[in-house]
Amino acid sequence: MTPSIIELKNVSKIFNEKEALKSINLDIKEKEFVTLLGPSGCGKTTTLRIIGGFETASSGEVFFDGINISSIPPYKRQINTVFQKYALFPHLNIYENIAFGLKIKKVDKDTIDKKVKKMLSLVNLEGFEKRDINSLSGGQQQRIAIARALVNEPKVLLLDEPLGALDLKLRQDMQYELKTMQQELGITFVYVTHDQEEALTMSDRIVVMSDGKIQQIGTPEDIYNEPINRFVADFIGEINMVTATMIQDYKVMFNNKVFECVDKGFNSNEEVDVVIRPEDINIVPKEKGKITGWVTDVVFKGVHYEIIVVDKQNNKEWIIHTIHHTQAGIEVGLDFESEAIHVMRMGEVIGE
């Protein structure tokens, strides 16, 4: 098993009598790409700032390589940060910005020179040494911020929504670059974002947070396919959600019908949440459908059509993603496999 590089134990944070973090436990392994994902105000940035040392936990402990660093100031931690708005020094040029950390550590001039050059080529900005920070585009500033952090060869790199200010195309390019960089350099990345797609693309593991608590920790596949509760399912991608009753193992009832499913271990007749992803539903002739309804909207989304079907029985709207076009106004059947039905305990949260 790979050793942990960062461990949070029962970390809580109280701001002005409000609990921003509620007893967080998190274990980050060496060379892992971990993403803290959640809506704004969920505590993900606070968690990152506690790891970086910019905030002190109100209670609980932070371990780095097995050593308690809870009370160690940021400048003594072997951790570097890429800040949300880059926070490049406006009075220094690009070379001086990247060299900042090395100069503080009194590294000799030739080594600094070599390392800065290497970093600039890593982020594809060779020859920019003398340029002014303000003459750079957002994407270039972002790269400099990354270079300035990585030149110190940290064991852990913290990234606070680093791609938030970039446009879509650039963001996608940078996602790949960051992932490649992380794998090549073998550094642990802790990444904060509210963009679920970004999290799914880059992470080894995703930590979904909400309301100061960790909702679920898992690989992108786990989080997407097996969301632990309503919040996670809803936050990661679009979903169809219904309340249902678990009749017995492998049998769940919703829409007044009993469906086969792959879940077990619930009490009989327990109320549960059922989630079906829009892309797991197929549109079939109405006689063959498990559910029937009227097509009310068909929207072209580029890769697929988004089709809204209102089911006849209880007026529930179902979202379907499919590459096949369907006419609005007609009656259709909805079909899905038993594996597509995700049954979740109501209000379940990891560690509870």
């Binding site: 040392g53 910019f54 940021p74 003594k76 570097n80 940060t81 708005k85 490049l88 503080i104």
Partner: protein
Amino acid sequence: MNKKNILAVPYVLWAILFTIVPLFIVLLYSFTKRDSFGGMIFSFTFDNYKMFFEPIYLNVLWRSLRLSLYSTIACFVIGYPMAYIISKSDIKKQSLMIMLFVLPLWTNFLLRTYAWMVVLREQGALNEILLFLGIIDEPLQMLYTNGAVIMGMVYNFLPFMVLPIYSVLSKIDKSLLEAAQDLGANSFSTFIKVIFPLSFPGVASGILMVFMPAISTFVISDLLGGGQTILLGNLIQNQFMMARNWQFGSAISMIMMVMIVISMGYLTKHSSKEGGTGLW
């Protein structure tokens, strides 16, 4: 002419009437000759400027430069830490502290300076206290010295050093300080490498705003220096009011103005590229 430009008309008129025209009159005077009754003879001459380079007047210039430099340095040494402390305290306290700095400015400038005469004179408050405490045996001559003049300058102009520095310091992005810490800088090197360089525009305007009134003052040197300490301001005032040599007075004014413009240009050129905002 669009609507916005029309709004500027009153100000432009004001500036032309009371700044630009008088400036040209002064310029004109400085290049003309004086008749025996102080009137102006229209004939071009450099004599007024040449006169300034006599040792007695150069001495005045030198003393002015020295005293204003000392008081500017003193204002910086006292003002920078003050501004730093204010910018570091919490928002509610900040406005209170700024208020305390600005409050004395609400009292008349002359009154404040007279008050220092009362404090510094031979039977004044300061001497009495020192005598009472037994620190000195006989009253010190404090009033009418260069020290008193510097004291008066520092007292009167300190807010003009504190305010621009505070304004720049309080606008420094906190994430820059975190970035410096993140890269291994402790508080001291964060200050030296980030805070101080970024506050330089504020320091530059502070220096200007203290140095300019200090080099041109005549009230402070008159009251606290008591005729012993003649500065450029006093010299100009004397030429206009007593010697009735408006021509020479104008020439000194022009020289002073050129000096100020040059130093201003130099300072703004070196501070504007830092991207901060001072009061200029």
